[in-house]
């Protein structure tokens, strides 16, 4: 079982490529190593990785990915970007604790959390949650619960930057 939490300065890059995920699986490397494709963000990241146990990837039957994208308006008013403020190290620690709890509760194989801090332009990605599990149902339930609890308990704030 694997938990990874990454905080990046600015927008997230594109999602993990399917062929990257496939190559990871073939090589029996801990799943979600594909986040390393987000290379340009890594150098600026305060990044925390917590590997509980390397998992055999053949156990994975479902991978669910959610991406949060900055909308072009906030409450009907056009925005240029959102500015994310994280209270560290509590934000990263809270995300890690939350991921561990969700992983255990739903019997998942891996969770990878990627979150932006600082300014993210409208149309760009600010959040990505990747969940690997044996079956679809637990991954979908875990996804919903993780996001609800993150929005309630993790000290990250966003402020609109209006046009």
């Amino acid at each position: 079982m694997t938990v990874q939490v990454h905080m990046y300065d600015g927008a997230l890059r594109n999602a993990i490529l399917p062929d990257a995920t496939l190559s990871v699986s073939k090589n029996q490397i801990a799943i979600n190593s594909g986040v390393a494709t987000n290379a340009s963000a890594v150098n600026a990241a305060a990044n925390k990785s917590d590997t509980l146990n390397a998992s055999p990837t053949h156990a994975i039957g479902a991978t669910v990915v959610f991406e949060g994208i900055v909308r072009t308006d906030e409450a009907g008013r056009a925005i240029r970007a959102l500015s994310y403020e994280a209270y560290e190290p509590m934000a990263t620690n809270s995300l890690t604790e939350l991921a561990r709890d969700i992983l255990s509760k739903h019997g998942l194989i891996a969770i990878t959390v990627e979150h932006s801090r600082g300014e993210v332009a409208a149309g760009e990605r600010s959040f990505r949650l990747t969940i690997d599990s044996a079956h679809r149902k637990e991954a979908l339930a875990a996804m919903d619960e993780f996001i609800d609890r993150m929005k309630r308990d993790v000290p990250i704030w966003k402020s609109p930057i209006y046009i």
Binding site: Y87, I147, W157
Partner: protein, 81 residues
């Protein structure tokens, strides 16, 4: 003694500051800090009385002790994602 409470997000913008200093009698608890915040900002008293505080980067229960050397932060109105 004086406790400095860090604030963030829309609350920090609204109050045009990054922290609020409150005076509480020693020994103090998180509940005392909440009450002092409410007294200092009566227009937001209900909000401050129930707002969650973190002490040294962990959520604090109302009866948790608070010292002037602690890092205290108000964790409300969060909105990650």
């Amino acid at each position: 003694m004086t406790i400095r409470v860090l604030i963030f997000g829309s609350l920090a913008r609204e109050l045009s500051c990054k922290d609020i200093a409150v005076d509480v009698a020693a020994p103090a608890t998180a509940r005392d800090v909440n009450q002092a915040l409410a007294s200092k900002h009566p227009s937001k008293a209900a909000f401050f009385q129930s707002a969650r505080l973190a002490v040294n980067h962990a959520f604090a229960k109302p009866d948790a002790p608070v010292q002037p050397t602690d890092e205290v932060a108000l964790i409300e109105l969060v909105g990650g994602g």
